[in-house]
Every structure is written in C-alpha cells, then in structure tokens.
Symmetry: C2
Subunit: 313 residues, 2 copies
C-alpha cells in the first residue's frame, strides 16, 4: 500500500490556530509529566553546501500514532531561488508501525508548533500587564511569534531588531498592518522591553543581560544546535525562573546548556515549561524569567496526529 | 511540489544483485576511509505493542544525495495478519535539502543491503576453500544471506539452526531447491561449520565459542540493539581478526560491544570491514575470524541514490 501523501493545502484546511494551541499545550504538559518518548534528535551537516538536516521523533505515550520529522535547512538556497527549508513529517502507527501518512507540509507544522509553543510560554511567564514586545530576528518565526502571541494577549508596541534594515522595515509594516505599533529598535532598546522573543540562528548572544529590565520575560526559540547561542549566560544568572521545553535537549544544545557550562546556573535549575501551562505562574515582583525552547518531537507527533484526525473526520 | 513516491515494483525493476553488491562494497570502503557521515541512529520503543522504530541516516561524502530511513518492527503484527516490518527511505539532496523521492520499499532495500554486506564480509574473510555454511535463524535474512553468499562463492552444504522445526524444515527445502545440500542442525553442529552466519534477534548468544573450529569464520548480522547479543564474548577472545561495519555502532549496540564490556578484547581490536574488501584478507592458518555488522546508514544513502539513478536513466 502506497502511503498517503498529504500536501499543504489539505493541511491548511484541517488546521486552525485554536487546534494547534490546544495540541501543543497538551503535548508540552504531557512531556513535562514524562508521558512522552522523545529520543535525542539526529543531525547531519553539509558544510560545503552550508546545509543541515535534523530528524526528530516523538510520541505522546499511549496515543495511537508517533511522528518522525525530517527537516533540512540549506542557507544558500535563496540565492538560487529555492526555499531554505524543506522536509516532511511521517505519521506512523504506534500499534503496528505502519506509515499512516506522509505530511508534505513544507515546514508549516513545525512553524506553527514553534509559534504556538513560544506564544504559550511567553504568555504564561510574562507579567499580566506586559504590553511591549521586542522580537530579535526578521524571519518567519519573528513574524509568527508576534502574530500567535497576539492571539493570547493584547500587545501594544512591537520593537523589531534585525540585521537587515530592509527586512526589519518590512516586518514592522506587516505588524503595523495587524494593528500593532511597530518600529525598528537597536539591541539595547529591544532588550529593555517587557517581553522579548529571540528567533535568530545567532552563534553569539543577541542581547546583553544588563539591558534586560527587572520584571521582564525572555523566550529564546532560535538555539537548536550546540554552535548557536542567542541568550547570554548572564541572563540566566539573573533569572528567577528558567523554563525549558526539554531538559536534556536544552542542556545539550540550547541556551540553557551554555549558561550551565558557563557555571552561572546549575543543571537542575530549570522547570519544564509544560508545568507552567497548567496553572498561573507565580512570579515575584521584579523577577526576570527565561524560557529556552529547542523544539520537542512529541509536539510534532501530537500535531501530525491531530491533523490526520481532522482530515479523517 | 509533492515528493515522488517510488514503490516496490519500480525498485525491483531498477535493482539487480550486481548493482547492490557494487554499491554496498563501495559504500563500506568509503565508510572505512571516513568518507561518510553517519550520525548515531535514533530509536523509539513501544513496549506495550512489542514494537520498535529505528531511524538511520547517512551520506557518502561529496555525493549528491543522502538518505534518511525509517524502519519499524512490530512483533505481534503477524498474529493480526500484518507484516512485522514497515518503513521507507527518503532520498534527499545533499546540495539543496530537497526531498528527491520517497522510496516506499517495504524494507526491500534494507534487506538487500544487509544481505550484500553480510555476503561480502563473509566471502572476504572466510577461507577460500570453505564450503560448509551454517545459518542461525530462519527469517528473511537467513534465506538472503545464503542466497547472496552463493552468488560470490560455491556453497556445498548448508546447516540450518532455528527454534521452529517447521520454519527450519521449509528453509532447508528452499535451499535444496537452489541446489545446496541443506539440513537442520543442532547449535553445536552448526557452530562447527566452516562459515557461520547468525541472523537472529537473540538476547543471549546462539552458539558457544568452544564449538567453533579453528579456521572458521563467523558473521553476525542480528545484533542491532543493546539488549540483543548473538555472538558470545568468548568467540571474540578467540578471534585473530575482528571486523566491524561501524566501530562506534558495534561498540554501542553490537556483539563487539558485549565482548569489549566483558573485558575479553579491547575497544581498538576491530578493523573496518571496508578495508577487508579492498584486497585479499591475510588470515593465518587456523585463525578464527569474526565480522560484527550492525547496518550503516551510508549504505542506505548509496543504495537509494543508485536506485534513483537507475530509474532516471
């Protein structure tokens, strides 16, 4: 039997932000309670082509399906008129091992679950009255993190810090069109916002800890390889609450790991972000909070299963 | 663009044993010379369903494609009338990261490359005059290892040792039909053959080292997880030459690793099997030789690429 290949138009029809939020929230909570199986991801690198491939797998225990996700990033593709990212998600039966479907999602499901996880973490951990949001980076996730967080809470001002003036300006225009007050900002000014989301592949920190104000929350979603590092160790040293989406991954290749190896925090100082989604987070006045998100395979499994359920219903 | 899904009939049309032997030999040699990228495989287990999933990836350096292979084994499937194994191979561009094709091979390519690797190692390492072959196990690989080795050298007698009398008898009949003298054998007798190939998922050794004769060669292909162990450490202690298809994998989850952890050999006592395929193996008279094969992702990459080339030509 040839496996069913599901394309992006069917995936878009079957999926709403509400569905993604619900699935990602439940999966992060299941993961926090060890009700998931998530083996260490598999990485390949292609230095000559400036490319890499990540394979992630995950299963929410006792659910009927698991997922294996192949995602590539080849960073010279745009110069050749090709998208940077390619990939697919295989939805597999956890009862028989049969391949139920291949979701040829062009990275859409990963983008959505990353946006939902970042927005859920930021909303749960930031002060209720926080209204200024700074985003570092100008790529797809910079846009999505703002759009998806705006679905959970009002955002007054958006500060955008990017390396490219053109991309920064056009992202600001897109946010303006959504009704936010958006403007480009220097790193120091962006780091002083109430809420900060970093979405870059930076190999060295994009902000300085001393510019982050008391009471602020910072979510980093860009550090997914050992050589990347968006958030400085000194920020973790100042944090009253550190959340990770996967303790082992964040220790291995997240910003949290850099901070632990720098000796400014211990490898047991983090809380699973899923626990912070179950009930209101108690944050002391003036506390700085940090979420380090590296992307969990169980989210891919849960979302792939949900999309297939919607398509079948 | 929806990825091309290639089914088993097209794969069978495009592939001959000669092609598989040539591709597997070249890939093992490339792997022996570090001209491959093979990250550690990813494993998932589903204890309640008695199932597992392995994801392997590999690349032969500087070739245009790499492969990611998903393979599942759910051992209660036959009782429900389903095959035990499912899976697919994704052929991916190493220049752009695009998914070139999905080979829906039903495990065929893995079965062939495993058969070819086992036959090549056994043929290269066994005495030229060796004519008696014992095979432990009665599954698909038991049959294929004999069939593919018979393509490389004459085999006089085949001894089959299996747990199931019925399966052992029908495998003997199949070998008889191919022109071999085949008969069931007890473990002690099978272990005394000139060439021995073990193809089982056994958790404890299937033969005793003291029954293996001077001058014999043993190839183990069944041990692919830490809890499996076909070949006893004492056999490695007696071996004058130990070959592994992947040093790190065999140390981690092959029979070689069990022998090293038992302290009977050192973790540097193995030779890459690819080096033994380049020129005739010098084996002292009366030496016992052992090959531990765990399956290398670079072989999947090379074979997937070769099949796609054949289909495109």
């Amino acid at each position: 039997m040839t496996p069913l290949v599901v394309g992006t138009s069917a995936i878009k029809r079957a999926t709403t932000p509400e569905l993604v939020f619900a699935v990602v929230r439940d999966a992060l909570i299941a993961h926090a309670h060890d009700r998931t199986t998530v083996p260490p991801p598999l990485h390949l690198q292609f230095p000559d082509a400036d490319g890499d491939c990540h394979v992630k797998a995950g299963w929410v225990t006792d659910t009927p399906g698991f997922a294996v996700k192949i995602a590539t990033g080849f960073y010279r593709n745009p110069a050749a008129g090709l998208p940077t990212n390619h990939g697919l998600v295989c939805a597999v039966s956890a009862r028989t091992g049969e391949i139920n479907a291949i979701l040829d999602d062009q990275g859409l499901l990963t983008a959505w679950r990353t946006a939902a996880a970042g927005a859920l973490a930021t909303h749960a951990m930031a002060r209720p009255g926080a209204a200024t949001l700074a985003v570092f980076g100008t790529g797809e996730q910079a846009r999505l993190q703002v759009e998806w967080l705006a679905r959970l809470r009002p955002i007054d001002t958006v500060l955008v810090h990017g390396r490219s003036k053109d991309k920064t300006r056009s992202l600001c225009e897109a946010f303006d069109a959504l009704g936010h007050h958006a403007r480009p900002a220097l790193a120091d000014e962006a780091a002083a916002a109430d809420m900060i989301i970093t979405t870059t592949p930076a190999p060295t920190p994009v902000l300085q800890a001393r510019h982050v104000r008391a009471g602020a929350h910072v979510t980093g979603i860009g550090t997914d390889m050992p050589h990347k590092n968006e958030l400085p160790p000194a920020l973790f040293a100042r944090a009253a609450l550190i959340a990770t989406d996967d303790h082992r991954q964040c220790l291995d290749h997240g910003d949290f790991g850099h901070a632990v190896r720098a000796g400014v925090t211990t490898d047991t100082s983090d809380t699973p972000v899923g626990l912070l989604l179950e009930r209101p987070v108690e944050r002391p006045d003036g506390a700085i909070t940090v979420a380090d998100l590296t992307g969990v395979g169980a989210l891919d499994a849960a979302l792939a299963a949900a999309v297939l359920r919607e398509l079948a219903s």
